[in-house]
Symmetry: C2
Subunit: 327 residues, 2 copies
Amino acid sequence: MNDMLPIAVDAMGGDKAPGEIVAGAVKAHNDHGIPVVLVGRTAELGDHGLPTIEASEVIEMDEDAAGGVRRKKDSSLVRCAEAVRDEKASAMLSAGNTGATMASALFRMGRIKGVNRPAIATPIPVPGARPTVLLDAGANADVQADWLVQFAQMGSVYTTKRFGIENPRVGLLSIGEEAGKGDILRKEAFELLTVAPGINFVGNVEGRDIMTTHVDVVVTDGFTGNVVLKALEGAVKTIVKGLLAAFASKPEYKEHSDALLPALLELYATLDPETYGGAMLLGVDGVCIISHGSSSSIAMVNAIKVGADMVQADLVGALRAALKPAE
Amino acid sequence: MNDMLPIAVDAMGGDKAPGEIVAGAVKAHNDHGIPVVLVGRTAELGDHGLPTIEASEVIEMDEDAAGGVRRKKDSSLVRCAEAVRDEKASAMLSAGNTGATMASALFRMGRIKGVNRPAIATPIPVPGARPTVLLDAGANADVQADWLVQFAQMGSVYTTKRFGIENPRVGLLSIGEEAGKGDILRKEAFELLTVAPGINFVGNVEGRDIMTTHVDVVVTDGFTGNVVLKALEGAVKTIVKGLLAAFASKPEYKEHSDALLPALLELYATLDPETYGGAMLLGVDGVCIISHGSSSSIAMVNAIKVGADMVQADLVGALRAALKPAE
């Protein structure tokens, strides 16, 4: 991988920045041989031995996204996106402000020709199987039906590149499996998806299908997608907490739950969002990975590996080809 | 409870009808002293000893709802709703076709004065605590902002009557906690909810808050609500399946998981939708309970108990008072 341009990592973004971010970048480089460049206030990053790009400003986690990107031209996020645009980096990655990550990528890298709106694709864990790719997981709160068709096309390309699934099954998230079930937007999108090229549309799917092997790509608007993503994350957390409380409810349970710990940890690893290294912003003209704000160094290693994989698989080239406007 | 009008139970509705439905009705009557009247093809219901209302037709689970109600005037669902309208029953209950249950209730009982649209309120389990009430869980796929305000008002009244929570905290389901986060609908609804009378509006909540004690009532449109409800049900199922698979992955785990079974079953009971006896259609002029299609006799007993409680607590009277249009 040493002939690859480095992955530009926003060292200032995330609840555990810069410590865990830098640690993850170092580990990705040392253990996996992935070239990385750290972007941020270089004096604050400690000893790491990696190349850097200086950026004096930070867009905070809760700062207004578009305003932050406009005002803070020397922020780590803007500099990450510029590094990709200027071919000094092959991909950008941040665990910081999601809106500002999207805005930086969109304003500096631009959109792939033909794409109406970029969308966030997030892998949803399925125990014992490959994850389901959900998009849009939050980039566009209000959408049009034809954008959903592009989300389906981009999600298909990504799922093939990322998980090696040829001709992935694409479902439209709705309420009821039959054609024509859903709100006005879904009814219109269903018609368009039925005739759209380049996808294997299997019809409507329901909320209960997301964490199963019934479908590979689930398409929805960014409002519903974000609500569902966070609801599922919350459910996993709540159930794990409930399990721990149940096992602690009687002293005699302890030896048994200790004996089962390896099995429980293995299951938890398949349910943990950190395992999949974050979400991908599809439709911008470059690889852009959006990691969870709470990302640890392990999450960062996974995210950097995904970034390197997607660069080497030429995800963006494949998206360009799939979304090419008709001549 | 013997002076109460009986609960009209649709004996023909649900995947396990009529067997489990009738068994649940008998049990609710015998064990809890709740008066019940079974509605359906009385010759097909076996020995039960309960009063009946004959209805020769059945609206099937996947039948077009409005069409079914229009065509099948002698269906068990239509006869249930008429029994409430005609004061022969105090409430109706069905585990059958959800759309047709709503349509029967709406067309035969009518709406409470001032209500724009009825909404489905569903309790979402929170381990170790009272459930969160989610509405609308599927009655209205496309909504207006002012309907969401009524959902908030109706959900508050219901949560107080059902779970004894005074001044329940109402959250608007959105993406981001800050005011102004969300899609166009949510932004408009947020403004209206801030000044709406009769509710304790605590602002936006996110998907991850639903299965927690952070909020008592979560308000959303019926599309998002139904997707989230089914996603959460799916997550519970998937994780339980994953746990069982993890415990079965090595023979030496068996004695330990057997020892933990009581704790696991107790946790599962708090996560099982059957525990709460189904959803309530709020805004029609009578008590109408919509149970899960897969309801067992135990789910039916719980649902009949909820129906009786809501009749005795005069839920509909309280909703009428709360939704009364300004003079």
